[in-house]
């Protein structure tokens, strides 16, 4: 029971963190500078973004739930089971972020979801 509660907390916080991250990274725009000075500048800009900070907060909750989950379950269960987020995120990417999820992506995401269900058995 504890494992499922941890998994639920991990999935919910990952979905929230990913959505916020995607919205804010798109708003920031494509990252083109990968030299140390450029990376430091980008990190400085991103560190002042309150929604990204909130995204990282959700990811931290997800991480500690995952860490605790690993104490008692297999890596080959914990990691695939976390992909339950994929189904929610693909739907929310379409509904909230207005991304055009074409037929091939839907089929691919469904296959991944079915695969994850089998992996978790």
């Amino acid at each position: 029971m504890k494992s499922w509660i941890l998994l639920g907390a991990m999935v919910a916080s990952t979905v929230l963190g990913d959505l916020l991250q995607s919205v804010e990274m798109k708003r920031h725009g494509e990252i083109k500078e990968f030299h140390p000075h450029g990376i430091a500048r980008v990190l400085g800009v991103l560190a002042r973004n309150k929604f990204l900070i909130l995204a990282i907060f959700f990811m931290a909750i997800s991480f500690f739930a995952f860490m605790t989950l690993l104490e008692s379950t297999d890596l080959s269960f914990a990691v695939p089971a976390s992909a339950a987020t994929l189904v929610f995120e693909t739907i929310l990417a379409k509904v909230l972020l207005k991304e055009q999820v074409d037929f091939r992506r839907w089929v691919g995401a469904c296959l991944v979801a079915f695969g994850v269900v089998l992996l978790a058995k």
Binding site: L75, A93, V101, L111
Partner: protein, 130 residues
């Protein structure tokens, strides 16, 4: 030309995301095995043990590279493509942590690979210049 450069950049970052996730999770699982953390102090103590620290470092690399990838690629592209990491984690669990992987789990692995390939051969953009 710009589109081709973006395609390569996307592939390179997808590989970094997948590898850092798989290796980071493995190190974390190895370090957390058999432990019991119940207080904040337990977590603080365990964070500084070598395997967990390596795991966290790699997962920070994973987070940053994934954030960079998301700055130009759709969430609905990034998520399924990087889900190859799930397969890598299952394989590492089997090989290095002696976990038992049932036929159903291997079948799931193949489905994930198939789904990932279907998504990966598409464009990382749903709108814009790709």
């Amino acid at each position: 030309m710009h589109s081709e450069r973006l395609r390569w950049k996307t592939r390179v970052f997808a590989i970094i995301v997948i590898l850092s996730n798989a290796l980071g999770n493995f190190a974390l699982a190895y370090g957390m095995r058999g432990r019991t953390t119940s207080t904040v102090f337990d977590y603080l103590r365990v964070i500084f043990t070598p395997w967990v620290a390596i795991g966290i470092t790699l997962l920070i690399l994973w987070l940053l590279s994934r954030m960079a990838l998301m700055s130009w690629a759709d969430l609905s592209y990034v998520l399924p493509v990087t889900s190859l990491g799930y397969v890598a984690n299952a394989v590492m669990g089997r090989l290095f942590l002696n976990e038992v992987i049932t036929p159903a789990r291997w079948a799931g692995t193949l489905l994930i690979v198939a789904g990932t390939m279907m998504v990966g051969i598409g464009s990382p953009h749903s709108k814009g210049d790709a």
